[in-house]
């Protein structure tokens, strides 16, 4: 047996490859562990506070000078003013910094445009929606892990590669979708940046405008990036109090804890967080209802039906209904509870997928 054969045998005996370990669904457990660790006293280095206010801006400039890139300096000067209007002047929570830095830290540095929506699905994946106030134009910036080529192949199958264009410190592949009309062209740019695949897409008047916007994507520092997040984005530091406020008037099942609500991501749109709150509560009620039906516990079954019948009156449900369809679906499922069926099928099967219960930690099977 050669060394090579022995090494192959050893490799095959590895009980958990690096690839498999990266796929373990433990992101949220790791997030909690990190948050708990950062709450622990750090005697060797914790006495040094994070820079605040003016000092923090100075710190930002120093960090950029160290990085030494002209693009970053331009971004800092154009996006952060000395009055601190855009720079919050407050020290960001560690979790916020971590997740901001998990993004490519790229913003559109163009007058009149603002980030309207932001979300980070994972450490590798997230998106910004950026809107122009004057005419409502919308562009979005997505970032994802993995190689670029599959994305190029995918876009090539549904659009036409029309050119390449400079962006940040690289070159983007630019594709145009065919469904547009003169003055409304759906154009997308794909490129690798900072170890990720970035895609910038929008409906614009034409290629000229698109390239102008593309050229205005700028790398910024963490403070500037976080300061650009819209008010509708619920940041981690505010999440607990926001969830408590959303639970106001909600009838929760026995044993429910706010910590049952999954998702400790940094940038969480208020609507998305709201659906997580009511979805978790509803899924737990449906779970109790299903258990009660199987156990022939009529009182428990009636209690669950009565609780979810109030859902249409929960304040957070009324707020969410103005922005999306999740509350409507939940109310329809609640109304179907007495019959136990949904268009002839068992209700719970549809509830599980319709409300995303498994992702919320509730298995209705």
């Amino acid at each position: 047996m050669t060394n090579h054969q022995l090494d192959n045998l050893l490799t095959a005996a590895n009980p958990l490859t690096a690839r498999d370990s990266r796929r373990l669904p433990l992101d949220e457990a790791h997030d909690e562990l990190l948050a708990a660790l950062l709450d622990e006293p750090a005697p060797r280095h914790g006495a040094r506070p994070r820079p605040r206010g003016r000092d923090r801006r100075l710190f930002g400039r120093l960090a950029l000078a160290v990085a030494g890139t002209a693009v970053m300096l331009i971004a800092l000067l154009s996006l952060t003013d000395d009055s601190g209007k855009q720079s919050s002047g407050t020290a960001w929570a560690a979790e916020q910094v971590r997740f901001a830095e998990a993004s490519p830290l790229v913003l559109l540095d163009a007058p009149g445009w603002h980030v309207e929506y932001a979300d980070e699905e994972s450490k590798e994946e997230g998106e910004l929606h950026i809107r122009r106030s004057a005419d409502g134009s919308l562009v979005d910036l997505n970032w994802r892990g993995g190689p670029l080529q599959p994305w190029l192949d995918d876009r090539a199958a549904s659009s036409v590669r029309i050119t390449s264009a400079p962006v940040l410190d690289t070159t983007a592949h630019v594709y145009q979708y065919m469904a547009g009309t003169p003055g409304h062209r759906d154009i997308t740019a794909l490129f690798r940046y900072d170890g990720r695949v970035l895609e910038f897409r929008g409906v614009v008047t034409g290629l000229g405008e698109f390239k102008d916007l593309l050229a205005k994507l700028k790398r910024v520092d963490t403070d500037t990036w976080l300061s650009a997040m819209p008010a509708s984005v619920v940041k981690t530091a505010d999440r607990g109090s926001t969830v408590d406020q959303m639970l106001n008037g909600v009838v929760v099942p026995p044993g429910f804890e706010p910590k049952d609500i999954r998702g400790s991501r940094l940038t969480k749109d208020r609507y998305q967080l709201g659906t997580a709150v009511v979805g978790t509560v509803a899924c737990q009620w449906f779970e109790r209802w299903g258990d009660a039906r199987r156990a022939h516990e009529a009182a428990k079954e009636r209690a669950a039906i009565a609780a979810l019948a109030t859902a249409k009156n929960w304040p957070i449900m009324k707020e969410l209904a103005k922005h999306g369809g999740y509350p409507e679906v939940l109310i329809e499922y609640a109304a179907a509870m007495p019959s136990g069926t949904w268009y002839g099928r068992p209700l719970l099967g549809d509830v599980e997928s319709g409300l995303g219960c498994r992702a919320r930690g509730v298995d209705l099977r």
């Binding site: 047996m1 050669t2 060394n3 090579h4 054969q5 022995l6 090494d7 192959n8 045998l9 050893l10 490799t11 095959a12 005996a13 590895n14 009980p15 958990l16 490859t17 690096a18 498999d20 370990s21 990266r22 796929r23 373990l24 669904p25 433990l26 949220e28 457990a29 790791h30 909690e32 562990l33 990190l34 708990a36 660790l37 950062l38 622990e40 006293p41 750090a42 005697p43 060797r44 280095h45 914790g46 040094r48 994070r50 820079p51 710190f59 120093l62 960090a63 160290v66 990085a67 560690a94 979790e95 910094v97 971590r98 830095e101 998990a102 450490k123 963490t222």
Partner: protein, 189 residues
């Protein structure tokens, strides 16, 4: 300490360290514990040491080796029953068993034979083989983790391979190689 490190706050640096190494450290620990949930305490205590001694954590990829070294000591503590049950890792401990269920490939007879042979080796020999094969470390990196000179690692690695080969040959050696066209192909020069 580099200028970039100096400009970075402890919190930001630790957060980055955690994000960069958590999966590899977890995998390192999971490969060495009997029960998946036991890995949670080792990982939590290892990162707690890193957090409290952040100034001692080297930069770059050496940080990972430093963490492996700390984790080795925590694993030893755990085997001696001296590792505390960390409240920091409550959720990780709860979720690990389910998360790792089904992870990794099936254990066929070859894999079982190699693992059994590894288990019969002395801990130091076993660890040096695991670090080399499963963590993919070079002798100089193994030396950093184990706290021994690089030249010592090379000789110990040679000795550990020899012992493992003997164990395999003593039991089911032929079946491990001659029945495996894949291995035979890979072994060809």
């Amino acid at each position: 300490m580099s200028a970039q490190m100096a400009a970075e706050t402890g919190t930001a640096r630790f957060s980055r360290l955690f994000a960069d190494t958590e999966r590899e450290l977890l995998a390192y620990v999971l490969r060495r514990v009997d029960r998946a949930e036991d890995a949670a305490d080792v990982v939590a205590e290892t990162f707690l040491v890193a957090w409290r001694r952040l100034d001692s954590v080297p930069a770059g990829d050496e940080a990972r080796l430093w963490l492996y070294g700390v984790a080795r000591r925590q694993l030893a503590n755990q085997r001696r029953g001296q590792l505390r049950r960390s409240r920091l890792a409550d959720r990780l401990r709860a979720e690990l068993p389910l998360a790792v269920a089904g992870a990794g490939g099936p254990e066929d007879h070859r894999v079982a034979a190699v693992r059994a042979a590894l288990a019969r080796l002395e801990e130091e020999d076993r660890e040096i083989l695991r670090l080399s094969s499963w963590e993919g470390l070079k002798p100089s990196e193994i030396a950093a983790v184990m706290g021994v000179p690089g030249v010592t690692v090379r000789s110990r690695l040679h000795r550990a391979r020899k012992k493992l080969r003997s164990e395999l040959l003593r039991t089911d050696a032929d079946g491990l190689t001659t029945n495996s066209p894949t291995l035979a192909t890979k072994a060809a020069p």
